[in-house]
Symmetry: C2
Subunit: 118 residues, 2 copies
DNA sequence: CTAACAGTTAGCCAATCAGCAAAGTTTTTC
DNA sequence: GAAAAACTTTGCTGATTGGCTAACTGTTAG
């Protein structure tokens, strides 16, 4: 019984997409792409309150997109390099499926043109 | 005043990621990748009620991932081929940013090793 | 013309979200 | 050891989600 592409509901993928669906979180990621930062450093430019930013950070961390570590009273946040891989994989998978479908459409169209050539 | 990568908050991207964040919607997409389908055809295998599936479909449609058209009493849903492009673009952008950061890290590590070679 | 079919609308529910302010907590700094 | 800094927790809002049933609309088949 082959279940290869019966991927079920992948919770990790849902967490990733959900984390990326928020513009504030995406801009936090962009910021962290340049350099690691403290929570306050991320709060200041966005204009959002500290608790709000904290919440976004924990969503990002649960999705595996960032790591955070506390040293003294300072928490430093950094990107997790490979974290977007599952998204890329899913995307590749979809593109190949969609292209296969387009291929079949082409084949059909071609056959239809030959058969029904006025 | 250059604003090139100050992409602001891209609403389309948020819609796309949000649409993809739900496993039911992803499985609907997988189904439609094989062939277009009627609403009932999509409802049956998921086990969800018709209105629920309708809601998912409208989320997918607003994100631009699918198109739907009604012929008589039947609505047919199909994938929109290029719809994932913005996601791929954002992903590429991130990967290049992240890799640049890793590059700088490498440079730093190398310099540190030279300097502090015990 | 009536019945079955396919979809749609309306309205309800519990859960989650994204934001906040206010009140802790734990380091540092002076 | 008091005060400032940097979170962290708590608890509150209003909005959105994802699910449902029940009732409604339009289309086709008999």
């Amino acid at each position: 019984m082959i279940v290869s592409h019966m991927a079920k509901h992948d919770p990790g993928l849902s967490l990733l997409f959900h984390a990326l669906a928020d513009p504030t979180r995406r801009s936090i990621l962009m910021g962290l792409a340049e350099r690691p930062a403290r929570v306050t450093d991320l709060s200041a430019p966005t204009g959002f309150s500290l608790p709000t930013v904290m919440r976004h950070l924990s969503v990002l961390e649960e999705a595996g997109l960032i790591t955070t570590a506390k040293d003294g009273r300072v928490r430093t946040c950094a990107i997790v390099p490979g974290a977007l891989a599952p998204v890329q994989t899913w995307l590749d998978e979809q593109r190949s499926l969609w292209e296969a479908r387009l291929g079949r459409l082409d084949a059909f169209a071609t056959k239809a043109m030959k058969k029904g050539s006025q």
